[in-house]
């Protein structure tokens, strides 16, 4: 059994710890009926002494097909940490594996409890045509009515999804924006915002990526303002402009609902 640490930013403080498990032939072990208990070690302090333990929960990356695990933990310090992954299979068998990794002092994205960066993001009012600001083939108009700066200035709670469906040509990509859209249906009075994380422009009648001189993709100004190192990224911000929850990568609908209900 081998662990895959999916979180791009493991940092001191409250952390959403995303991971997966495979066997040595790359076959996915992560499944809803495989329970995984986590044991954490502060390697810099005492490499083999348990610092804390946590259960994890399975979430679908692609509903009914593939998923991974999430645990909400809190690292007491930056430095070298280790985790022992204890998996229990439906037949009662157990397997265990340990991985060590680095935990940073801070994250580049806004920490939970800090003020959300105010930044202008594209809206339908400014663009006119949703196709010029969203690569979603079925854009939800409500997601493009308010910019991040406008929501903060108005004292509105909001959910922002930095997500591009442009690259999700198959069902194997995590349908993050679809998850957010489905949750939004139950919160008609809450502000939802979707922004494309990359610099894009309309060419040949469709929204396309703008590459830099060396051919790389470019983070949009609002993406840089929020310090994203990966996408998709979803944040929940309260009416005081404080980041209350943030989710990197795959998100389960009930995770988002829980964060919204806590506003």
């Amino acid at each position: 059994m081998l662990p895959i640490l999916v979180s791009s930013e493991l940092a001191k403080g409250p952390t959403r710890f995303l991971f997966s498990l495979t066997d040595r032939a790359n076959q996915l072990i992560a499944a809803p009926n495989v329970d995984v208990h986590l044991v954490f070690y502060d390697v810099d302090v005492a490499p083999d002494t348990v610092a804390f333990e946590s259960d994890s929960r399975f979430i679908w990356a692609v509903e009914g097909e593939r998923g991974l695990y999430v645990a909400h933990v809190e690292f007491s310090s930056a430095g070298r940490w280790g985790t022992r992954f204890n998996a229990t299979f439906p037949d009662g068998r157990t397997q265990t594996v340990r991985a060590d990794y680095d935990v940073r002092e801070t994250t580049s994205t806004p920490a939970i409890g800090t003020t959300a960066p105010s930044v202008d993001t594209p809206t339908a009012a400014g663009a006119g045509d949703l196709g010029s600001i969203s690569s979603d083939p079925e854009p939800e108009p409500r997601f493009y009515e308010t910019s991040i700066a406008e929501a903060l200035a108005a004292g509105k709670s909001f959910v922002v999804a930095f997500a591009t469906p442009a690259f999700c040509r198959t069902a194997t990509c995590g349908p993050t924006l679809e998850t957010v859209k489905s949750v939004a249906e139950d919160y008609p009075d809450l502000t939802f915002i979707n922004v494309e994380p990359y610099v894009m422009e309309v060419r040949d009648g469709s929204l396309q990526l703008v590459r830099s001189a060396d051919g790389q993709l470019q983070a949009a100004p609002w993406t840089e303002a929020w310090g994203l190192v990966t996408e998709p990224f979803v944040a929940v911000v309260d009416d005081q402009g404080t980041v209350r929850a943030k989710f990197e990568g795959t998100i389960a609908a009930d995770e988002l609902v829980e964060a919204i209900e806590a506003l």
Partner: protein
Amino acid sequence: MKRWALAILIVLAAVACAPADGTAIGIVTSIDSAGLGGVRGFILRTENGETLDFTIRGPVALDGDAFPPDHLREHMASAESIAVAYRTEGGLRVVVRLTDASAQDG
């Protein structure tokens, strides 16, 4: 021929269209990134357990079903196999094109 074997052949044929010295299929286990648009490399674990380092240097093809390096983490999250076409420069495996391996199996 089994379906998965046919799928792998299709993927290898697809990535072979890019000017590459080799191809590899596996799952992403680690990503080195300086930020969006700034993926510098990643580690791929192949089905036979081999661990391969890849470097991003210059443009990566985005034609057809290819996806950008920034999208690697989604595939890493679901432990979904990817196919990497690469060229060799100074002993480094430099990525030419990235595609979703298992998505071809449909």
